[in-house]
Every structure is written in structure tokens, then in C-alpha cells.
Symmetry: C2
Subunit: 582 residues, 2 copies
């Protein structure tokens, strides 16, 4: 037996007990006549003490040989500490060691195993097994485990069945790029790794499983943007005999449960907002509503007043930034520089201060009177002391630009509080979006999403106008989940594939099994999928997902710790009937 207790559990009431502990040497303080060691494991830190008076000479010598991250086992007696440490739960006691066994030695780690480490990202990833010893990373992984248990318990209690769907499935060129897996037994053929279990969960509904969930790995071979992983985890759910309302209620329930159990935060009924409203009011479909700064459109107030920059534009739109009327010229110039950065792409920025004394001061005073600016303030819900920021241009681009500026201002003002949670639903997404490059419509959600029945008549005549029974859950400016009511009859599904430019043969070849299934009594159904990595990161109050993943890959899709991907044997290639073509 390596230990009688962990390093996190001993307290004053245990004094005088004999214990056996094991763990890592976190720190050695050697005063010559006295040595203290912080012994660490997952559960905490316990202080060990050796001293000239009470420890044997051999033991003192042995203790002096210990280095950082050595793995040791000790036996000893619990004593009350002379100088207590109120910062750790075991801070009232220490162990007077009687026997010390070195279980394993350790080379000096390449970075410090402390909350704040001196290791850079590359080094931390290469030695991820050491990085995980650091409390912040370890706590994130434990937090993730706790979130998934809560998800499972909640959904199980709600009658959802955890069903595993296959990983070796069929490649479909639609959507993102698949990772493929050559089959040795079926020459020249390939499996694909799932981008999501979408078709399988729909087949489970056809199969009468009624309520399905799975926490499941999904795969996308995309050029990686920052904070994207080629493999990621979804909470994948589907329900039969439901309307959109049923799904929203069920998963609003799940999210409330998580916020309560995990963060002890109570939230009320989630606001619901149409896609159109979100775009017009926040410039994007995943608004952060922890703070206000809603968009106000100023075309009727600001155009045709002699300011040419506004007059020719499709949209003039602004926000009121609270309490920033006292910005200096330097500060407003910085904002102008910000929106002109290529990543944002605006041509310029107009500002107008609503001073505390009720007067206005703007960068366009030549063109607009105090009365004009007062109408802007009213439209933007500006209060005295606020700074109005206005952009003009093509509607879609300008909204996106103002959305970026809004987030930037919120960040600057500290309004994106990690421990405040503002969930909402965005609903009534368009069914399709036009792709300029391929000159055809793409499914905004995926080809299985049901059009709204009342918009079905426009499916061929005005497809861009058709709204879908699709919804996203948004939390703190991130889409954490999305789903839809599905098509469940062959005819509509077939029309949908037509619209998306599939030939009959392509549709049949790729999704024939699903359309066939719809002919044997498919129930109405719908579902949702949450991005677990992101959800956990946001609940954990952090922006990046990487430290909530035990062994993440870098931006080239490499695991730098195990050095994968790597070359394989010619023999292996031959067995797969493949040749490299570099």
C-alpha cells in the first residue's frame, strides 16, 4: 500500500496519527538543521518536516538528496504546525517523517510546475504530462469531467439513452473536409471519420429510440484557425415527436442545471431573438448580451445633411459606449486606427461625445448641429457621459465591423466578465446562404434542417428568403450549441438536395440510406449539438479551449508530444493498396 491518505485530507483532528503518504516533491526548504518538503498529489499539498533533533542523521542525509518532482513515499507522525498556513486546507499540520523511500527520481523539469509557469506554449505541449501536473491545467481537466458527468446525469434522468454511433463511416463531400481511413479489407475503399453523428442520430429516431444523447468525438480536416482542433467533442442529442419549443425547453433546462450545479449561478428564462434581430442589433448571430451597446441605425437622421461620407452608403449605424465621453483625441484616434486594421476593414469611424453637461462634441461638427447629434443620442440610447461611435458602408460588412468594435469596447471596459453568464436562443435562421464563389446555395445549418412550413412555398421561387426551424444557443458571445427540426420525409429531403445542387445520383449515393429510412415510418424529430470543448471553457471562465483538452494538437494538427502524424512503413502502405504521391 503506497499511501494511507492523500495529500489533501489531513487536518488538526488527525494529529498524532501515523500515516503513509506518497507524491511529488513540490519544494524543498533546507535550513541545514531543519528541512521542510511540500509533498504534492492531485488532492493537495502536505508539508513534511525533518529536523536534527527528532530525525536520524541518515534520514536527514537522505532528505537532502531530494530534488524537485522526485516521487517519494514517507511514513510519519502528524503533528501540529508551529506556524500555520491558512492558504491551504492542510495548513495546520505537518508530518514528522520517520521513513523515506524514493520511488522514482526526476530530471529537472524543463519548466516550473507552478500555477504561473515559465514554460512557453510549445514547451508545455511537448511535455504536456508535466504541464498537467500544474494545478490550473489539472483543475480544468477535472472541471471538464465534472461537467460531462452532470450532462450525463441530467439527460439520463430526462430519459435520454446514451447510444454509441460508429466512427468508421462513409465519406460525403458535402460540408467540411472529411478525414478518411483506407480500408485494407475492402481494396481501394475508404471509411471517413464522422464530422458529427448527424445521420445516425436521425436513424435512431427512425428506429424509435425517442431520446438519444452521446458525448462523442468528431473530426474535421480543415485548415486550423486559432483555437480549433481537428478532433473535438460534441454533446450530441436528438428527440422524436418534438417541435422546436420542446427542444428549446429541454436544453434550456440542461444549461440552467449546469450553471446551477457547476457555477452556482441561477439564470432566468433565456431571451429568444430572431437571427434578423441579432444581426441588426448586434451585428452577428452570437451576441454577447452581458452588456448593452445595441446598434442604432441612423440613415434617416444622418444622411442628406451634407456629409457625403454618409450619404452614399447603404447603412449608417452606431453604438453608445457608456462613460467614454471623456476620451482624449489620442484615444479616439486609436479607435479609428483599430477599425481601419485590415482584420476589421472599415474606412473610418465617426465619434460623437455626449458630454456630462448635455452638450455634444463630434468629429463631424461641421456637418451636424447639436440638435442633430441629440437625435443620434436618442436613437442609440446614449446617456450623458457616453461616447457614440458610428460606421457607415455596405450593410453586411458594416454590421460586422461595428460588432467587432462593440466587443473591443466591452473588453476595454471590462464588461466581458468571466463569471457572469448571459445565455440566449437565436432562432429563425435562414435555411440557405448564397455562396459567391461556387454560385450556389449552401445549407446554413446542414441539408437535413427543415424549412419553416409557412416558408415552404418559397423553396424554389425565393430560396434565400426561406427560414429554417433552426436555433443556436449562445453564451457570452459564443455559439455553444446549435440544432434544428429535421426533414423527415423523402420528398422534402429530395427537394432540399436538388436546391443544394446535388444530382439525383449524388444524393442517392451519399444519402440514399437516409431517404430510404424516411419511407418506413420516420417520426418528426429534431435535435441539438453542443461544442463541449467551448462550453467547458466558457463555464470555466476562459476564452481558449486548449487547456480544457488533455492532449491538444497545435495549429498544424500535430501532437508535438508524441510527434504525430508520422511516416508509416512501406509494408503498411502496400497492405492498404496505396502509394505516396508527393
Amino acid at each position: 500500500m503506497y499511501r494511507s491518505h492523500t495529500n489533501g485530507e489531513l487536518r488538526l483532528e488527525n494529529v498524532n496519527q501515523e500515516v503513509t503518504l506518497s507524491g511529488w516533491v513540490q519544494k524543498v526548504r533546507d535550513k541545514g538543521f531543519m528541512i521542510w518538503i511540500d509533498l504534492r498529489d492531485r488532492y493537495g499539498i502536505t508539508q513534511l518536516i525533518f529536523d536534527e533533533e527528532r530525525s536520524s542523521k541518515e534520514l536527514m542525509e537522505q532528505a537532502k538528496t531530494l530534488g524537485r518532482e522526485f516521487v517519494i513515499q514517507i511514513k510519519g507522525n502528524i503533528i501540529e504546525r508551529a506556524s500555520k498556513n491558512p492558504n491551504i486546507p492542510t495548513g495546520n499540520i505537518e508530518i514528522l517523517v520517520s521513513t523515506l523511500t524514493i520511488l522514482n527520481i526526476a530530471k529537472l523539469p524543463p519548466f516550473t510546475i507552478e500555477d504561473e509557469t515559465d514554460g512557453g506554449d510549445e514547451l508545455r505541449m511537448k511535455y504536456r504530462y508535466l504541464d498537467i501536473r500544474r494545478k490550473p491545467v489539472r483543475d480544468n481537466l477535472i472541471f471538464r469531467s465534472k461537467v460531462t458527468m452532470e450532462v450525463r446525469n441530467y439527460l439520463s434522468k430526462e430519459g435520454f439513452i446514451d447510444v454509441e454511433t460508429p466512427y468508421l463511416i462513409k465519406s460525403t463531400p458535402e460540408g467540411a473536409r472529411d478525414f478518411v481511413v483506407p480500408s485494407r479489407m475492402n481494396e481501394g475503399q475508404f471509411y471517413a471519420l464522422p464530422q458529427s453523428p448527424q445521420t445516425f442520430k436521425q436513424l435512431l429516431m427512425v428506429g424509435g429510440m425517442d431520446k438519444y444523447f452521446q458525448i462523442v468525438k468528431c473530426f474535421r480536416d480543415e485548415d486550423l484557425r486559432a483555437d480549433r482542433q481537428p478532433e473535438f467533442t460534441q454533446i450530441d442529442c436528438e428527440m422524436a415527436f418534438v417541435e422546436q419549443e420542446d427542444i428549446l425547453n429541454t436544453f434550456e433546462g440542461l444549461t440552467k442545471h449546469l450553471l446551477k450545479e457547476i457555477k452556482d449561478v441561477e439564470v432566468g428564462v433565456f431571451p429568444r431573438m430572431t437571427y434578423d434581430y441579432a444581426i441588426k442589433t448586434y451585428g452577428n448571430d452570437k451576441p454577447d448580451i452581458r452588456f448593452d451597446m445595441k446598434f442604432g441605425e441612423l440613415n434617416d437622421l444622418a444622411q442628406n445633411k451634407g456629409f457625403g461620407v454618409f450619404d452614399s452608403q447603404e447603412l449608417v449605424v452606431g453604438i453608445a459606449v457608456p462613460g467614454c465621453a471623456n476620451y482624449s483625441r489620442k484615444q479616439t484616434d486609436k479607435l479609428i486606427d483599430f477599425v481601419k486594421r485590415p482584420q476589421v476593414g472599415a474606412n473610418g469611424l465617426i465619434w460623437a461625445k455626449y458630454n456630462e453637461d448635455g452638450t455634444f462634441k463630434s468629429s463631424v461638427d461641421k456637418f451636424f448641429s447639436q440638435e442633430d447629434l441629440a437625435t443620434w443620442a436618442e436613437r442609440l440610447n446614449a446617456n450623458k457621459g457616453d461616447l457614440m461611435l458610428i460606421l457607415a458602408g455596405n450593410a453586411e460588412k458594416t454590421r460586422t465591423q461595428l460588432s467587432v468594435l462593440r466587443m473591443e469596447m466591452a473588453e476595454t471596459l471590462g464588461l466581458r466578465k468571466p463569471n457572469e453568464f448571459a445565455p440566449l436562443w437565436v432562432v429563425d435562421f435562414p435555411l440557405l446562404e448564397w455562396d459567391e464563389e461556387t454560385k450556389r446555395y449552401h445549407a446554413m445549418h446542414h441539408p437535413f434542417t427543415s424549412p419553416k412550413p409557412e416558408d415552404m412555398n418559397m423553396l424554389e421561387s425565393d430560396p434565400g428568403k426561406v427560414r429554417a426551424n433552426a436555433y443556436d444557443m449562445v453564451l457570452n458571445g459564443n455559439e455553444i450549441g446549435g440544432g434544428s427540426i429535421r426533414i423527415f420525409d423523402k420528398e422534402t429531403q429530395s427537394r432540399m438536395f436538388d436546391l443544394l445542387g446535388f444530382t439525383k445520383e449524388e444524393a442517392e449515393n451519399q444519402f440514399g440510406f437516409l431517404m430510404n429510412a424516411f419511407e418506413y415510418g420516420a417520426p418528426p424529430h429534431g435535435g441539438i449539438a453542443f461544442g463541449l470543448d467551448r462550453l467547458v471553457a466558457i463555464l470555466g471562465g476562459q476564452e481558449t479551449i486548449r487547456d480544457f483538452i488533455a492532449f491538444p494538437k497545435n495549429n498544424s494538427g500535430r501532437d508535438v508530444m508524441i510527434d504525430a502524424p508520422s511516416n508509416i512503413d512501406d509494408k503498411q502502405l502496400k497492405e492498404l493498396n496505396l502509394k505516396l504521391d508527393l
Copy 2:
């Protein structure tokens, strides 16, 4: 809202309520003036009634159009049944339908959706979504979900952290064949899908995670034997600062918990048996101990008595089959045929009946006296009325043959009772096994298994004798879990790779990251993995795993429902820098 209740919940006390139900038409009984319909969903069956007196003519007409597996929604009033059906929980009531809506029509299913179906295996797999509607398959999937929830809850309560390990890892030629995944972003390189998360869970222990578990898909590109799947699921676990005893106790606890919660079966302390004892006593390392028939070795009793067939052989070994002394010549001849089948491979079989009157009758009466046969009976623990069956030959082969015969006899006698559970531990496995083909040692478990410290001195001098700290959990003649205490220092791990014929470069190239990790303070650790598919099947009292998997593959590794694997685009191949080489 598609339904106010499910089809499994209405009872007598609900009579007179107005309800809305949805589901599939299981059965229509049309008596002309009266129509009964069994409406089915996951939760049960509820009877609907339409009759001339109480239903409108239109409704009657509409009901007559319904076919099997149509999806319908009805509104109606709950009434007490005239003739009750005690076989189903809703058998006391029926619904007098007032409105009927057809949600979806259905083609006639290619097989009957009944407990006993007329569909063959291929057909059932092609239309798996219909097969899943059948109660036995549906119940198996729900059962599996329940088992995994119990596993997760138990291990979480025991302090295990659920950590997801990566699916896109590194190919290693050791062990079974990997499925590989070409990387587009890293030209000419490949990921591999994990055969198990072995090295990652060990790294989690090095990382101080202390107790890890994961229910995880694993992949092996092997020629498929019956009832093997290219993708399968493991309950994968690892613990730090443990000895073998700690692991056995923890997972004996888990298994007892499952038996109690899932099957309401209480089992005592699991017997433990060494590998050597299991081989000698049952002829294999996964003995079914629901019944006895232990092997008895007869060399000293049966050799050198003039029966040449025995004299020249390495081993003479037998079992006593209870109550079969009355077997006819035809029956014993059938057993002789059985052992001579190429799949068993024995040259012949000797039988000896221990008659009820205390006399013996054998196929070798010419060579052995009554007294001789009495000594056999004593050695084999035969009682009056038992049939002794004896094989002779090469020790290893003969034990395997007798083991097959023992299982056959148990099957014949109905001793393999699906609802009896006899778990045990098999321990002290050999570290290595000699492979005649490659003329070298292979790791019996895997290369990370720790030799027993007391056998370490034989590692180079007599490697075949070295025992491992490895253990299997066996249930009803199946290995359901296996694990080991791991090597946790670089030097031993390196010796191990030497022994297994790795060059230094190969070892470094494939497992350098693990050996490096061992240099930074690796704790003693060990673990176990359970085959979930098999475990669930056995707990469910069944022998085959396929109906506990929602979408299994056939023996060629194909999913016949979605028709995968399949060809992929040339464009896709080009992006991966690959060419087919058929």
C-alpha cells in the same frame, strides 16, 4: 405538442382523461364495425379503439387506411377495457380516439417488427433502423446505456476523472494492425487510430491525474473473426500509487456494483487463480466456473498399463461429466466425432462410465481393470452416474481440446446459465510468449507490463519463466477485463523493448516520449481495461455482442446499411498526396 403521454404510462387511474399520443402502428385489427390499433413507442404499447357507434364515419374511414409502421398522432379519451390484457402494463385501458393525424406513412417493412422476426441477419443489418424498433434490440441498447451510466457513476464516486484522450495518434507496428489516417496538412504522414489509449493513460499518471477512466472507442484492423468488430468500446482505467491488490479490489468493487444494480445479483469475494492453475485445471485462461468438471491428470495412473495410445504421450487428462454414465454408444461416438473435428483436432477420445451400481465400463476395458478405473474416478472427482472423458497427447494442445470438450458438455447439459454469474481473477500471467513464426518473444499483455520484481533476475537468462504483474477478470468463460501494473522507469522499459526485439532506434522513435516521461518523476501505476461490448452482452445473458451495438459492421468490416467503406473522389486523394495502387 405531439403527445401528452408516452405509450407506456397510462393506467386505470387515468380513465376519463383526454390525452394526445404519438407512435407507430404496431398492429391493426379491423372487425368492420370496430377497429383496434396497437400504438407503439419506446415506452410501450397502448391500444386505440374506433367503433361505428362512438366514432364518426370519417374517422372510421381514416383508420382503415392505416398500415403497419405508419406514424400517427391521436387525441382521445381513456376508457376502461372490456377485455383486459394482463401481459402489458397498459392492458387495463384503451383510448377512444376522437382525432387521428397521419404524421408519416410507411412502406411495408422488409421484415416483421416483432420480438421474433422473420428477417435474416443481412436484411436486419441493412435496415438496422427498423431492426432497432424491435423490442429485444431496443432493450439491449437501453441496457447498454444503463450499464455505462452505472460504470461512470461508480468510478466518479471513487474519485476517477473522465479524461478524453486523442483519436488521431501515432502508428506503432507493435501489436495488432493500426487503422491509419492520412494527414493533408502534413504531407506523406499518417495518424493512427488508437488500439487503446494505453500510453496516454500512463502519461496521465505521470501527469498526476491519479485516477483516470474513460469509456472509449478503440480500433483494430484485424481480419475479423466471428463476433469481432473493427471498432469496439473499452472501459479504460488507470491508477497511480497502487499495487496489484489495490486494482483488484477497486474493480472487483465495480463489477459487484454492476451485478447488484443491473442484475440484482450478489456475489461474494472473487476467486483468484494463477494462470498456471487455470491452464492445468480448465485448459484455458478464462475458465467458466459456473460449473465444475475440473481437469484431472492421469499420467501416473494410466500410463505403462499396456495401453500404447497413452504411454507415449506427454499428458493424459480427463474430466468427469455429471450424470452422463447412461450415455449410449451413439452418444459417446458423437463425442468422439466432436473432438476429431478439425476445429478441435484430437485424435480420439477415451470414455469411462462410473455406473450407478459402482461398476465401471470404459472404451479401454481391455487395458484397465475396475480398480484402475476407480483410481481415475477418484482423481477426476467422479461420482456414481458420471461419465469420464479422457484425452491424451501434447500437453498444451490436449488441454485446449479438453477445454473445448468441457464447454461443449456444459452447453449440452445446460450448465451455462445466462443468469448465473461466476466472476474470478486470473493472475500471475507469463510476461512473454514465444512466437514460433517470428522466432522471438512477444509481450503477452503489452510491452508496458511490469515483470514481477522477484522474477526480474530471469529477464535475460530465462525470459519465458518471468511472470508479470498482470491480471484478467473472467466472467462466465469470457475475459471481460485485463490489466497490469506498469513499468515506470526508463531502464526497465528499455530492457523490455530489447527483449521484444526492438532496436534502440525503433524503441526511441515509437515510444521515446513515454520513456522520456518516465525520467521526470513517474509514479508507480497500473490499470485495467474492460471490453464493454462483451461485458454488456454477458450481463445481458447473451453470447454475441452484435445486438448490443447500435450500428455494427459485418465480418468484412462493412456497414451494409450506409454502404461503407466506399470510393472517394480523385480530388480528395490528390489532396492527401495519395494514389491507389491496386
